[in-house]
Every structure is written in structure tokens, then in C-alpha cells.
Amino acid sequence: MILSPINIISSSVLLLLLFVLVVPLLKSRQRLLINTSFMLSSLASLLGIIGGVWAVGGGITNKLILPIGLPDLPFHLRVDPLAGFFITVICLLSFFVSLYSIGYIKGYLGRRPVTSLVIFYCLFLAGMVMVVLADDALFFLISWEVMAAASYFLVMFEDERIENRRAAFLYIIVAHVGAIAILLSFGIMAGLATGFESFNGYTFDAMRQAEFPLKWATAAFLLAFFGFAAKAGVIPLHVWLPEAHPVAPSNVSALMSGVMLKTAIYGIVRVTFDLIGVFPWWWGAIVLIFGLISAVMGVLYALMQNDLKKLLAYSSVENIGIILIGIGLSMIFKPFNIPLLSALALIAGLYHAMNHAMFKGLLFMGAGSVLHATNERNMEEMGGLIHRMPWTAALFLIGCVSISALPPFNGFVSEWLTFQAFLLSPAMPSPFFKLLIPLGAALVALTGALAAACFVRAFGVTFLGHWRGAHMPRVHEADWFMRSGMILAALSCLLLGILPTFFIDWMDIIAQQLVGTKIGASSGVYGWLWLTPVARESASYSGMIVFLGILLVVVAVYFILHVKPGGIRRVPIWDCGFGKLDQRMQYSATSFSMPIRRIFGFLFNIREQVKLNPRGVHKAFPKRLNYYLRVRDRFWNWLFKPVIEFSFWVSRKVGLLQQGRIQAYLIYSFITIIVLLALSR
């Protein structure tokens, strides 16, 4: 069969890879290069979407064996509903982002050549799709490395700044440590699948059929979880994320945060549910606990950031946490033989993965528009942008509402499903769970509230009020390409929010294949309108009705305020008779997050100083105050600094061997020879 999901998807990958070869020819014509390359990558993404949607919708599993690879070890490709789902997510966002890039990358014209960016952008997209397509450990790891290396060069794009080089270096180290763990995990599984005499264990099929002893399966799972968690940015392995995402070009950060992290989620689901298959409940508890930590800590860190893109990066840590909570719950319920709840939690996690791709992509694109227009990432310097950039502001607001899990947008649906999985869980046979489940539900609720606070702050400080910096630059609205990318992402946020039953019915087959049952979200007399995950009596939600209700209220309010003439007057701000209000006298990003910094301060490494300036003036009559605040990640000092210092210590000790004297080096070999001879006699 010529036309099948896998052929469509692999032709889209091939299109991207072949185009990379053509790019150098277009080097001298940068504008043409930008137009063709991003048009082409959006076309390739469209192909991927078609293939992915078809594979999930039809429940199709296709395989393909490529004649390339190592001798006797060909590459295996496979598309099943799980892979199809992730390919859909990846290609959907890369379609939006590619459209957006046509406008965004033109900002570099005349400043620096973008040839390398185009090459690695295409390789990056191809790498992500290849990771999901792979059906053997070899091809998986190669694709994984292509993805990591391409994104490394994208982070490095503006390499004249030291922070970019530092971030890229940190990123590539974490990515490689993770890749080693994944390699070892596959090594264990392949070795147990066919023994060490034959190499055929490297295919995922062999791993699927093998039954692993618990001890080895646990080792494989822990290694894989470590490796994928490093890529996903699970706390405490998240430190590269807030460094690398802000410095990459914004279209790339949208992709890295929106979908590259999801490939790690895909890896976790693939290894645990599919390859290992049978596992004890406490694996799920591990995933759940790390998910909870990431969610709460991630959003708290996000609240402390003044850099808009850094805030979004930490918020990705939080959302990865929420996705892992869903998957962890599913992994807990599966061994206890509660397939319905397991399916519900899995769908909740995967649905959140898709939602996060949409709204985080949208938010990064919005932040990119702001950066494009103002050359500013620090929120403390921004403000009042809603007047100059109405489109960006409205679309960014949609992203903020979605990510804060407010109806009728998509974030609410997946977090609501996660709550249902928590709340419907029956009494578990272990006291540990009696503690963990309610605690987890409470922490998810806290996360949602904090995320809302975080994005009220992000939107309010950036777009509302007045410009906070010294001089307002000439700000221009994003062009139509950028706007169209954001509008499409915002639309998909809305659709995923108001029509969840369609999407959940579409992806239900994944749950069927992985945990053995569908959740049948739209069953019952209400049909497509009501989302009823388990039983109509216990919980139901209709995004459509909520949306119509909210729309009605908004329209009514608009008419009441605007139709009546003179309903709104624009006058100078009342200054309480104090006089001389200036732009510094607004709520700032730092002041907004102060109450939360007071409550959760013990989690951060905070240095706060208030200095009277100039000195010598009496305290009662200060002329100027200098306020200094530094908030740092504690994990850097706890976890990463000791490792770095240890490796430097080891290097210094090894360096002692280097004497610089020929005799010393000869003695090393002499002693080695003597010892070896004496031992091997």
C-alpha cells in the first residue's frame, strides 16, 4: 500500500532532510531562503499531521524496515496510535511555528546570516519526528542525538553572547548524560531480550516480547526515567531549561518547550507501558512524586522570574510535572487492575501534553513578538504594550487563560481530568497511598492557583499599565505571518477546550492499547456535548456550554459599557493629590510576587538588600532607596555544584600524573609492563 500513515510521515521527514541539502545553494539569497524553507517545513508538518491523525483515528499500526543502518542491523520504523498522537502534536505546533517563523526570522535580515538557523531548524523538526517513528534502540538513539545536536546549535545561534554559549554548553551536557542513561536502559532490555550472543534484541519488538525479571526491569526503568527526565526538565534536573529556552530564538524556544520536552514524555510512556509492559505500582509512585515536585516548584520558580521567557521556561517545568502526575497515576492504577482509572489518568496526561504544546507554543510566540518589537525580555522594563500590540496582547491573554487552567480553554479540561483521576480513586490497600493521593490532589490545586497568579503577573506587567523603562522604543505590531501562527495556536487552544469529547474519542484507542480499556468519554444520552469520563452521575463538564455562557456575559458587558454614549471617559489618573505620578509607581513584577516570596521564601536562595542612597541623610527623609533582590535556584548549589567541583577535583588529581618528564612517562609504562607480566605469568 503506497498511501499509509507511515509513508506519509516518513516522506515528510525525507522532505525536511533533503531540503537541508539544498539550503547552502540559497545561502546568498537570505529572504528567499527564509520564505521557501519555512513554507516547506510547514508543508512537511502538514503531511505529518495528516499521517498522525490518520494513524490514531484509524487505530493503524504500520511498520517499515529501512535498508540503511549498520550492516545486519537495519533501521526499523513503526507508527502506532501512541506514536501517531505524538507526531500529531509535534507537527501541529511545528506547522504553527513555521508560519510564525516566516515573519519572525525576517527580523534577523541584515543583522546576521540565518543559513545555519534554517538548516538546524529543519534537522530539529526531522529529528523529533524520527524519535517518535523509531522502532529500534539504534535508530531511536541516533534520532535522539540528531534532535539534541540540532537544538544545541539553535540555542547557540546568537553565539557572540556569553550567556548563550554557557546555556548551550549546559544543555548539551545534561542532554548527553541523559542519553547515556537511555542507552544503558536499552542495553539492559536488549541484553535480556535475546541474550548477549545475538544483536536482534535492539528492536523494540524483541523488547516487547521479552519478559524481564523485576530487578533488571527496575534498573532499566530507573535509567530510562532518569534519562528522559533530564530531557523533560523534571526537577531536580531542570537547570538547563531556564538557561537554554530564553536565549534561543523565540520560534525555537516555542518548539523546544512545546514539543521537544514531549518527546521525553513519549519516551517514558513508550518504555514503561509498551516495552516493559508489566511493572509494580511503586514505579508509578516515583513518577507521581517527581511530577508533584516539578509542578509545585516549577510554578513557584516561574513566579520569581522577571525575564518573560525564563518565566515561561519554568512554567514548562510545572506543566511537565502535571503531565507526569497523570502518567504516574496511570502507572499506579494499572498494576492494581483498575483499568478505567488508569486509562483516565493516561488520557489526562497525554491530553495535557497536547494542550501544553499549544498554549506554551502560543505564549513563546507571543513573547517572541514582544521581544521582536521591543528588544526587551525583562518584564520590569515593559508595560502598556496592549495599546501598541493589540493582537499580540489578545492572543497572549488566550495563552495565559489556557495555561492557568480556566474554562473554556484547553488547560482546564486536562487538569480537570487529572483531578477526576485523583478524586475517583478508590481506597488503596496501602497507607502510603491514603496519604499520597489526597496530598497530590491538594498540590495540583495549589499549582493551578499559583500558575494563575503567575500568568496574571506575566500578562499584567507586560501588557497593562504604562511603559516602565526609561524610553519607550518604537514598538510595532507583529506582522501577519507571526499573527497567523499565533491565531491558529489560539484557535486550537479554544477548540481543544470546548470540544474535548471529539479529541478524547479520537485518542481513546491509545488507552485501549496501553492499559486495555477505553474511557468512552462521550457515552450517554448527552452525546458529544458533555465530557463524562467515568460515569455521568459522578462528574461531567461541557466546554461548549461554559464557552457560550462566558461569551454571552462578555457580549452583554460590552454592550452595556460601550453602546451607551459617554459610558467610558478617558481622564488623567487621579494621583490622590500627591502629585507627580511617574511610570515607576506601578505594580512591578517584583512587587506582585512579593507575598508569595514571603510565604515560600525558604525554598529559594534569596538575597535582599535595601540601601539608603546617599548615605548620611536621616532615615526619616530618604532621598533615594536602592533595592537589590537576587533569587536563585537552590538545586544548583545542592546538586550540580558538588558534581562540578568533584569532576574538577578528579581532573586536578589526574593532572598530577602529567609530570612533563619523559622519564616519568617511561616509568608508568615500565611499571605497567612489569605488573602485567607478573600477573599474567
Binding site: 586536578r652 622519564q663 617511561l666 607478573a678 605469568r681
Partner: protein, 221 residues
């Protein structure tokens, strides 16, 4: 010739090879070293020819001639010229703690005999008893490179190691195939030239041939 006599002669020559190795270990004068090296080559050459005669391996005559021309005449001549050009012929190298070095050499010989005893028991070759001496020569060459500081002494130590290997090949298996031996001979020759060029560079850079000077190339913290 009687095999027993051949074995005796072989051991006798092996003893001389070992003696010259010990001599080189503690010889302080440059010319003396070169002469000792030439003598070692001569004993090797005679030994190779004799083994070739007894075992009926005629290609060993060729390698014997090669050894004679290379190690007895050509290499000593090159080293001679080198020493004169570099004006180091009057230099007397300080060898620290001669008795200690000699004792270490003796320990190495004993160690080689200990290592080779199982091989000697299994082997049926005439030359089996000299295998340990060959190994000892290699190790003494290495020891010489470790204890000496002068660059010319180092290369002589290296060449002495190669002599030991060649000796081991003749006594263990009646020599290597001719192609290999030709290759090795060529390598030695080229190595000597390369060393010569390096010496000139070292000499002009450091104004000395003391390899301790090269410690200055070490990376600083």
C-alpha cells in the same frame, strides 16, 4: 655442528649481549656508549648467522647481514656524526647511584628468568635458554631510558631495546619472516634519522640535550 655445542655458543653470545647491555646502563661517555652498542650489534649478528646455519633457515643470513651493516656500521656512524655535530663528545653524563641501577638490572634479569621458565620448559628449540636474556635486554634498555637524562643516551637505550626484541625473535622462533625483518630494519633507520633531526631542534631550542628541560613544556594550572 653438534647441537650441544651450538647451544653452548648461543648461551655464550647471549652472555655477551647481556654484558654489553649492562655496560651501556652505566657508561658515562658518549663514544663509549656508541662503541658498546656496536659490539652488541656484532654479537647479535654472529648469533643470528649461527642460528640460521643450524636451523637451516637461510633467510637468517640476510637478516644477519642487515644487522651487521645497520647496527654495527651505519647506526654507530650516524650517532658518531651526531655527537660530533652537536659537540657533546666531551660531555660526561652524571649517572646517579650506579650500584642501585646495577642492582635493579640484576633484579630484572632474575625476573625475566622467572617469567620465561614455563616457556623454556615447553620449547624444543636450541636457543630456548636465551629467551630470558633477550627479555632482560629489552627491559634493561627501558630502564636505561628511564635512568638517563641525555637525549642521545635515550635513543641508544631505545635502539638497545630493539636489539633485545630482535634477539628474542631469533631465540624464540628462529627469527621473524624476512618481510617483517626488512620492515623493522627500515623503521629503525628512519627512527634514527628522525631522532637526529629532533636532537638538532631540541638543541637549538633549549641549548642543551638534557630532556629534563622539556618539563618546561608542561601545562601550568
Amino acid at each position: 655442528m653438534d647441537l650441544n655445542v651450538v647451544a653452548q655458543l648461543n648461551s655464550f653470545l647471549a652472555a655477551f649481549v647481556l654484558l654489553t647491555a649492562f655496560g651501556m646502563l652505566v657508561q658515562r661517555r658518549m663514544y663509549g656508549l656508541v662503541h658498546l652498542f656496536a659490539w652488541q650489534g656484532l654479537f647479535l649478528s654472529i648469533n643470528t648467522a649461527m642460528v640460521g646455519f643450524v636451523a637451516g633457515k637461510h633467510h637468517l643470513y640476510i637478516s644477519s647481514l642487515l644487522t651487521l651493516s645497520l647496527k654495527v656500521f651505519l647506526l654507530p656512524y650516524i650517532l658518531h656524526v651526531l655527537i660530533q655535530r652537536l659537540k657533546v663528545h666531551k660531555e660526561v653524563e652524571i649517572v646517579e647511584n650506579v650500584p642501585m641501577t646495577m642492582l635493579m638490572g640484576i633484579a630484572l634479569v632474575i625476573f625475566s628468568y622467572y617469567l620465561m621458565s614455563p616457556v623454556t620448559q615447553l620449547s624444543t628449540l636450541v636457543t630456548r635458554s636465551t629467551l630470558a636474556v633477550a627479555l632482560a635486554t629489552v627491559m634493561i634498555g627501558l630502564l636505561m631510558m628511564i635512568t638517563r637524562k641525555h637525549a642521545v643516551t635515550q635513543i641508544i637505550g631505545f635502539l638497545a631495546m630493539e636489539n633485545g626484541l630482535f634477539f628474542a625473535a631469533t631465540s624464540a622462533t628462529y627469527g621473524m619472516p624476512l618481510v617483517v625483518e626488512l620492515g623493522v630494519a627500515l623503521d629503525i633507520l628512519i627512527a634514527a634519522f628522525i631522532f637526529g633531526i629532533f636532537f638538532f631542534h631540541i638543541h637549538t631550542t633549549f641549548d642543551s640535550l638534557d630532556v629534563d628541560q622539556m618539563a618546561r613544556l608542561k601545562e601550568e594550572d
